[in-house]
Subunit: 298 residues, 2 copies
């Protein structure tokens, strides 16, 4: 029997899974601590559940990470503000402990492939997956393949119109101040309003602003990539009244410029929530492991 | 002998070429008038030069256009503000007149594939081609293939930070006012400064603003697509002092966030001019024709 391990490595939480698909998976989670302790814990869980059936392990990691197979630091977390994890050989450590091939990608790339295989974007060749949580990350699938490019997308860091009169908050991204993440992440919401995205009441003006920033980002990506679907996930998007608000603003921003039914009449099918809940990242890591294993059999 | 026809259809000018590659091509150009007259003229030129050797014709057209092979209006120019060309069956007309298979794509997509095959982005699997002329259009190549998606990218229409205090010009895009095209196209430059991009002196403050908007767009695309190269072409970019200005602003905007040598030290190889001059569009149209023909032989 072939079994795969998956690790979704977040800055505050790790999710580990063992299995093959959403119907056949066991998942656990624990807080992120030091690299050695956390990775050891993840590996122990995977080894215990998978035993000798383990064929490969996938990692979907917070970043930035080095995905260049030709690089000496391939598989490393690179310039993260989390100091203990800087220049950490993540893929290497997992491969050494579990003695298995390791697929390595970003957390959002992993989540995107899972949503593309089993979730909201099944059989969609061109889509974007965005997670709006403590931070904001995005992944793009184009012509059926993940976008990697030079490094990997860092969609949370695009600049948007920021009307300081309407929103005097300077933004909290340590690199860019008022990029998308600096203005619209869960962390920015908490800093601006002194309340969490989870607790802010649904009629708070925070949400008008939040929908506006996310709609600006969505319309930027519609113009840049012409996706067939945009999946918006992450903790902040669990406030699901945001979906119609974002769609309305996207409609206003694009102003009928894209003469496609999907953009003019079917925005409710175009901008959608994920379907794998909190498990898209870890399931995607399992899927990446599976793909790596199958490539090896070719 | 196999010969291909190429048409680069611009809003003000058509370029037509007959040949196989940059070293073997004849090119002519004439102003865009009514669809029937202009297309007839292009077809006459191609037929005359290619004779019975014509294997296929490529069109790189201004847009928006319908590229969905499953659509009833595939090959049409759709919602252009140029009324005579609205809902015009461009690919169909060329195919009927020349009795040849027709490859159809946007003008910038055509230019991008030519720069990728013979020009500035040779052998680059992930790059962006932008043209900054009367309007602004962009194309992306990801994993070696053009991005099409739902329709095709309309990169000129992304929204950017617009500081009205510094730049009170409202923008001239009829759909979005101050999108990138509305702020930074040749048309916006002329409208704002009452002088053309060609004539404005190099020390005019217009260029600081222009570099800033283009750098904002470039950094948005770096974060979205993680390209390995960005080619900036079009009439406005012929003012080549813009290149170092844009690179400097991109460096400032990204603020060392992308820990890759290409972004930190080699921006002069990352943000580059095209190498096929004004012929990338028409050569790309020829290349698209060639690819269509070769597919047919498979």
């Amino acid at each position: 029997m072939e079994v795969f391990g998956g690790i979704e490595a977040g800055g505050t939480k790790f999710l580990c899974g063992v299995g093959t698909c959403p119907e056949d998976v066991e998942i656990t989670s624990f807080p992120t601590s030091s690299p050695d302790t956390t990775v050891r814990k993840a590996a122990d869980y995977i080894r215990e559940r998978a035993g000798t059936s383990l064929c490969a392990v996938g990692i979907g990691s917070f970043g930035p990470i080095d995905l260049d197979p030709g690089s000496e630091t391939y598989g490393y977390i690179t310039s993260t503000p989390k100091l203990a994890w800087q220049n950490y050989d993540f893929a290497g450590a997992v491969a050494r402990i579990l003695e298995a091939p390791v697929a390595f990608d970003t957390d959002v790339n992993a989540a995107a492939v899972a949503e593309g295989c089993w979730g909201a974007a099944q059989d969609v060749e061109d889509f974007i997956y965005l997670t709006v949580g403590t931070g904001i990350g995005g992944a793009a699938v184009v012509n059926g393949r993940l976008v990697h490019g030079l490094m990997h997308p860092e969609m949370g860091h695009i600049r948007l119109p920021h009307d300081f009169a309407q929103d005097p908050f300077a933004g909290d991204c340590p690199y860019h101040n008022d990029c998308l993440e600096g203005l619209a992440s869960g962390s920015a919401i908490r800093e601006r309003w002194k309340e969490s995205a989870h607790d802010l009441p649904a009629d708070h003006s925070a949400w008008v602003l939040e929908a506006q920033y996310l709609a600006l980002a969505v319309s930027t990506w519609v113009c840049t990539l012409s996706p067939k679907q945009i999946v918006l996930g992450g903790g902040v998007m669990q406030r699901d009244f945001l979906f119609p608000m974002i769609r309305e603003q996207v409609r206003r921003l694009l102003n009928n410029y894209i003469p496609k039914r999907e953009m003019l009449e079917e925005l409710d099918k175009f901008i959608v929530p994920p379907q794998l809940g909190n498990h898209s990242g870890v399931l995607g890591a399992i899927l990446l492991a599976k793909e790596l294993y199958l490539q090896g059999l070719d």
